[in-house]
Symmetry: C2
Subunit: 192 residues, 2 copies
Amino acid sequence: MPERKNIGDNAFILPEPMTVVGTMYGGKPNFMAVAWVTRCNYKPCLMAICINKKHATSESITANQEFSINLASESMLEKVDAAGLISGRKLDKSSLFEVHFGELKNAPLVMEAPLSLEMRLHDKLELDTNTIFVGEVMGVWTEDQYLTDEFVDIEKVRPYTLTMPDNRYWAVGRQLGRAWHDGKAVKNQLKG
Amino acid sequence: MPERKNIGDNAFILPEPMTVVGTMYGGKPNFMAVAWVTRCNYKPCLMAICINKKHATSESITANQEFSINLASESMLEKVDAAGLISGRKLDKSSLFEVHFGELKNAPLVMEAPLSLEMRLHDKLELDTNTIFVGEVMGVWTEDQYLTDEFVDIEKVRPYTLTMPDNRYWAVGRQLGRAWHDGKAVKNQLKG
């Protein structure tokens, strides 16, 4: 039996998807690097992002009730990291990315991102240092270059993940298997 | 200028980390495959998991106020997928994994997982089909075999991610860079 030990609450790693959250701040697009993001509801299609309350992005989402989530591609890594190094309160980040708009006028969509989600604020939960903003996906913008047979192709999108507290970025690697599929033999064993 | 188009709300991909959520159900450990998970608060260390309300896991977390989050390693893929194929209401899944307990008596920790987090329910947010359960990390359990120089080593842990709606599992690939670091040149350009 291996010896397990408790290493304390801040020492685990979890590969989380790297995104850029877009908001309108002072009349201009503002961008924040966010990996604390997840799908959170099946129907309607809701996403949660978890943002420190001090950030300009939190202020903008609360004021405008709209934002965007843009999946970061490997080619965007340095610009996305720069967005995470700079506060929108101190420096105008609007020139970092070219944007376009869908239906929502306060959800600037990053042209360079392979996938851009238009989000309308649906609910929020205030925690100690952060707020969970829950948004409804109002539109998903992409280009033909990221599709294969009309489906989004991860090999073309090239998303990446962040781990903390080691603060490293990781490519998405090879396909390991298929979900709701590869466990069928184990399921049948359990059923006996 | 590339042509961007709106492909609808359920067609995007996001590589999310694969975990096993452990609860006590009917006096026995129960396991659920969960990729809708994220860190959500800096201090205290809080995590959010987003679970369909119909699942036995939702009932158990609400009843016990405790659960575990176990990072899935590549070697666990078939068993974790099986956990996602079976309802704890229909079949006893307690034999899928060996467990141990830390401080919390209703948070069964998966021995086979490289990292197991003991979680105490901190808050929750009810959405339409799902509930966001926010838990505080009360302990992080691992073994020396997953550490290098006292730090968790992703090469030894071998976590993986899930994308939907294509329902595929992906390995974590090569290191691409360092966070809060690789954007410094871009930041300096912006500062002018």
